[in-house]
């Protein structure tokens, strides 16, 4: 049995003084693909935010990589994760920034992606290399989403946390990219989505 890499114990989350998640518990094992689904407004995004300390939890506790989610540990925890919010909420000028910006941070410099690594990820996510010279307002939402996913994968972190990973993709790309990301054995993935194909391919389904 693989050991749990994320433990969420009896947490409650409030949004605008309203309790949206109550006494909630789940565990994620290393390499497991977990999907969080449920109607809009049920707190999927808040739950993802809580796991990385962006939304405060009122009750309960969260452990990642054996460490309690706390102010002392937060940097160590965030060093081991890749996180992607909804594609539309991130604004960049150039495509280059999407791919290379995270590698300017000290902790990621050692993982600076080789040309080969970029070629492989781009091929699997159906991204044309010519996009690298473009401005973000010249590309489509689907292209931007694939680039953001590429950047997250290139970081080679243990855990990938994503909100609506396939929302801007067409059917063909959806399947192809879902298969590629969920086939990565070592990568632990937590995604919030309605996408039936992604849900079908996941190991654990959490319905809010």
């Amino acid at each position: 049995m693989r050991k749990p890499i994320i433990i969420v114990n009896n947490i409650s989350i409030f949004y605008d003084k309203k309790r949206i998640i109550e006494d909630f518990t789940f565990q994620v094992k290393s390499g497991e693909k977990v999907v969080i689904t449920g109607e809009s407004g049920k707190g999927k995004t808040s739950l993802l935010n809580a796991i990385l300390g962006f939304t405060p939890i009122k009750e309960g506790e969260i452990f990642l990589f054996g460490r309690l989610l706390s102010s002392e540990n937060i940097s160590k925890i965030r060093n081991k994760t890749a996180w992607l919010p909804q594609e539309t909420s991130l604004n960049f000028d150039s495509v280059n920034d999407i791919i290379y910006m995270p590698f300017e941070f000290k902790i990621n410099k050692l993982n600076y992606p080789s040309k080969d690594a970029i070629d492989t990820v781009f091929k699997n996510l159906n991204i044309s290399k010519e996009l690298l010279n473009k401005q973000v307002d010249e590309i489509s939402g689907g292209q931007k989403q694939r680039l953001l996913l590429a950047s997250s994968l290139l970081l080679k972190k243990e855990v990938l946390i994503i909100d609506e990973p396939t929302s801007a993709l067409d059917e063909d790309n959806k399947k192809r990219i879902t298969n590629y990301i969920l086939s990565k054995k070592k990568l632990t993935v937590i995604a919030a989505t309605h996408d039936p194909y992604w849900i079908k391919k996941s190991d654990q389904i959490i319905v809010l």
Binding site: R78, N79, L84, P85, L90, N91, P102, F105
Partner: protein, 261 residues
């Protein structure tokens, strides 16, 4: 030395009548600025009249202690104005911004008055107070633009900031793009302004010195040094303000607190 033509009080009142035109335009386009503009000019008048009286008194006394006290009051007012105009919370921002402005004033005053002009007494009211006033007046504008850009962008691009943090950035690394933007927005217009001085605008201080009977060459030398000092002092106060305020406005998880009123 040529004597300066005084403006008599009747002409002064006549001067105010010209305001009817801009006020009418602001009112016609329903900008909502008429009341603010009206109050601003009333304040300008009262403040300057009081300062005029006060400066006559303070120049006569010319006590270093009193001058320092006056500059401290000016710094407090500058801090207050910056925070109010940026719609930020006083409780987070008063101390960091006050300290930053004060530090930059101390450094640049010491440099300009002590090193460049080589005053025997750098607290000489005739230099210390107006020069500090110009430093403050000019820094305020850039600090307001910088803080507005910085915190505005941090709020608007909150997800981007989180994206940096959650992908391994230290807080200082995640804030770099926001600081860059703040500096660019604040100093672009300043640099453009510096570049056209002499061609299009004759700056106030130089004009004043020439009207007061100084030779244009002296006035020009003062102006150049003053522009350099103002520029340096603004950059220093912007960077320090953001640096000190950052210590107060993030929670222990590095999330931005609610900072606006």
């Amino acid at each position: 030395m040529n004597s300066v033509y005084d403006i008599d009080y009747l002409s002064l009142i006549l001067g105010y009548i010209i305001l009817i035109i801009p006020f009418y335009i602001l009112w016609y386009y329903k900008t909502g600025l008429v009341k603010d503009a009206f109050i601003a000019f009333i304040r300008l008048t009262i403040q300057l009249l009081l300062v005029g009286v006060y400066l006559e008194f303070i120049f006569d006394l010319n006590s270093a202690l009193l001058n320092i006290f006056w500059v401290l009051i000016m710094t407090i007012l500058a801090t207050y104005t910056v925070i109010k105009r940026s719609e930020l919370k006083l409780k987070f921002f008063f101390i960091p911004i006050f300290i930053s402005i004060l530090l930059s004033v101390i450094v640049t005053d010491a440099f300009f008055l002590g090193l460049i002009i080589k005053l025997n007494n750098i607290f000489d009211a005739r230099y210390f107070i107006p020069i500090t006033g110009m430093l403050l007046g000019n820094s305020i504008k850039t600090i307001i633009i910088a803080l507005n850009t910085y915190y505005g962008k941090l709020k608007k691009e909150k997800e981007l900031y989180k994206w940096y943090l959650a992908n391994g950035a230290k807080k200082s690394e995640a804030l770099v793009p926001f600081k860059r933007e703040a500096l660019k927005n604040a100093f672009n217009p300043v640099i453009a302004g510096v570049a056209i001085i002499g061609l299009i605008s004759l700056p106030g201080m130089m004009t004043g010195q020439i009207l007061g009977g100084s030779s244009p060459v002296i006035a020009v030398k003062y102006q150049i040094m003053l522009m350099i000092t103002i520029f340096s002092s603004s950059v220093i106060s912007v960077v320090l303000s953001i640096y000190f305020a950052d210590k107060y406005v993030f929670d222990t998880f590095n999330n931005l607190k609610k900072i606006n009123n």
